[in-house]
Symmetry: C2
Subunit: 377 residues, 2 copies
């Protein structure tokens, strides 16, 4: 089975690419004004001390998402090229700890793939995480939980109350709590001050924050990884195996984009995603046999559920034939791909006219049901 990113790579050249969750809509006027100043930002970055520049970019980004208690001034936030690079660094730490990891299920498959080389993984369902029911993690006797929140593809999340419960349970059990919050920017319900909660519970933690899903700026992005005090030296050492520093220029661009987000850019992004999610729901509303399993999600990806895996597969293939690439559901269910067989995932961080044309073709393909014999083959 191909990985999701391999399928996304094929879609890069497609007429309409709803495969990857990267932001591919038109930049807003505010973002455009920043792109118009790239040379100025390059020069500004070169003329400033790196540490100061880095801390200001981290502050601007984390503040814009409500993370005011992030441990910035304590040397506990690290800048990396991307959230996936951050996950590889985390994997080396988990390997050295000989950790056994309970990983959220389903989630994007590369998290599983990057960790599975280093540690033993067992799946944990969103419901068990919501209830902080560590008893349900039984068999593998995990020493670490890894949670994508908000989750990709479901949009499920740990709100403040759930995070508090889960972090407290992990602290009591001595488990390391790892969070991938790459989709935090899309959902205000994930923008409470997580670090205040984490620090109060005393849990050991690693949080991977990501600028890469939010702004359509040619993949100029960073991950910021925040860790609890006890993990600073261990994680910092692993970071320095991979890089000396990220680009000062990219830090400066991120700072400007975060300031724009705080000045209303985030609302504009939320409006676009809400518009495209609503258009998706409307497009399939009158088509029999298509459900929307996550109606309350606010992330930039949207699942559709079909009556059967064969029908989901037919729609995905015929849609690709019509020039529109989306992702299948199987690979997200890394421990049991069949569970995702009826799902397709559509990326909705796209310009409205692109989204609407894709949905027009989806309606056409999905309405043209295959003969029963073929669909159930």
């Amino acid at each position: 089975m191909e990985s999701l990113t391999e399928l996304e790579q094929v879609a890069l050249a497609a007429p309409i690419n709803l495969a990857d969750g990267h932001p591919r809509h038109m930049p807003t006027d505010g973002q455009r004004r920043i792109v118009d100043r790239l040379t100025e930002l390059f020069d500004a970055a070169e003329s400033e001390a790196f540490e100061q520049l880095e801390q200001r970019a981290q502050r601007a980004f984390l503040d814009s998402l409500g993370q005011r208690s992030a441990p910035l001034t304590d040397g506990r936030v690290f800048s990396l090229y991307s959230s996936s690079v951050a996950t590889t660094v985390l994997a080396t730490c988990l390997l050295r700890r000989e950790a056994r990891v309970a990983l959220i299920h389903p989630t994007f498959d590369n998290i599983h793939d990057l960790l599975s080389g280093a540690v033993v993984l067992e799946p944990v369902a969103e419901e068990a995480l919501a209830e902080a029911d560590l008893g349900r993690l039984g068999r593998g006797a995990p020493t670490c939980l890894f949670v994508t929140t908000p989750n990709n593809p479901t949009g499920w999340l740990l709100d403040q109350e759930r995070l508090e419960r889960l972090a407290s349970a992990c602290a009591a059990a001595g488990h390391l709590l790892c969070l991938d919050t790459s989709f935090r920017g899309f959902d205000r319900r994930a923008q409470f001050d997580s670090y205040d909660v984490l620090e109060r519970t005393g849990v050991d933690y690693v949080v991977i924050e990501d600028t890469g899903k939010l702004w359509p700026v040619s993949e100029l992005k960073l991950a910021f990884v925040a860790v609890s005090a006890g993990l600073r030296d261990e994680f910092g050492h692993a970071v320095r195996d991979v890089l000396l520093s990220v680009s000062p220029f990219v830090l400066r661009v991120v700072e400007e984009l975060a300031a724009d987000a705080a000045r209303g850019g985030l609302e504009r992004l939320h409006a676009l995603i809400a518009r495209n999610r609503a258009a998706t729901l409307a497009a399939v509303d009158d088509i029999e046999g298509i459900d929307v399993p996550d109606p309350d999600a606010r992330v930039s990806v949207c699942r559709l559920r079909f009556e059967s895996a064969a029908e989901a597969d037919r729609v995905r293939r015929e849609l690709a034939g019509a020039g529109v690439h989306v992702l299948p559901g199987q690979q997200f269910h890394w421990a049991d791909p069949a569970q995702g067989g009826r799902d397709l995932r559509l990326a909705v961080a796209r310009s409205p006219h692109v989204m609407d044309e894709a949905l027009r073709r989806l309606r056409h393909v999905a309405s043209r049901r295959s003969p029963v014999g073929e669909a159930t083959r």
Copy 2:
């Protein structure tokens, strides 16, 4: 013992940083004209198909360094964020192969650190590699060779004849040959058409090419990894665990910088490095007890060898006290740090006035010999 990159990180805030090998000299006029066009390059990148953009940047860079037979059109050159990220991807492939790796000794320590989590490593000396003497690799029965060429910190390299011999020996033995050519740009003797040699011998290979050491452009850089036909799918799958694509914008910038290098930028870089290496040699020429172990090297780092490890350590510490940070030699000798005890490594990709002031302080510190009792303690 701290890693070299941890020491480099401390030096980022130093008054004079000769620690890291990153390019920190003033941009040339040609490079400056490219920086002045960043917004234009951003827009150009956004308006073009990714595959075409990527292949043109790879072509421009590899051609500028004489690598005309690199397997570009065969989907066998992958773009990554950096050479270190490329090494982590390679590590996952080597882990899956359960490879036993003979790694060049000495070399920059993070190569060892990134691979050692995944595979068993044994050291192999430059002399054995030069003679393609695989018999000297004895004990660990390696299945893979990893060679940094030109090497960091020594500047030693595989010229065409040596590469041909080594690749043929690896092909005959069934060994995978991995090359890190990050410093290729500095030395014309490494700019013969390596891929023509590699393909002719039929060896399995992975070559990590790197734009990151050459141009002072705020860490806007990429690694390009070329692999032999048999490794395309295996390496490509591992790449897609880490990223979907690099930044189109950075690809466009790299293409322009490579074109500038081909138009004379490389000669200007070579002149700067030669000037700073000569200044370094001249600065220590009349100081007793300092040797230059690599007089023929052309890379952007330069070793000095002292009479004793204690004296090297004294000079490094007092130099840091005088605001000039350089690297110690021990960590490069990852299998036997004591071998590097007498060495210091100076980065010379710096503007002449910075280099000269650093050398002035070095002369002052190195001439002020410590009492014998202290130096031999």
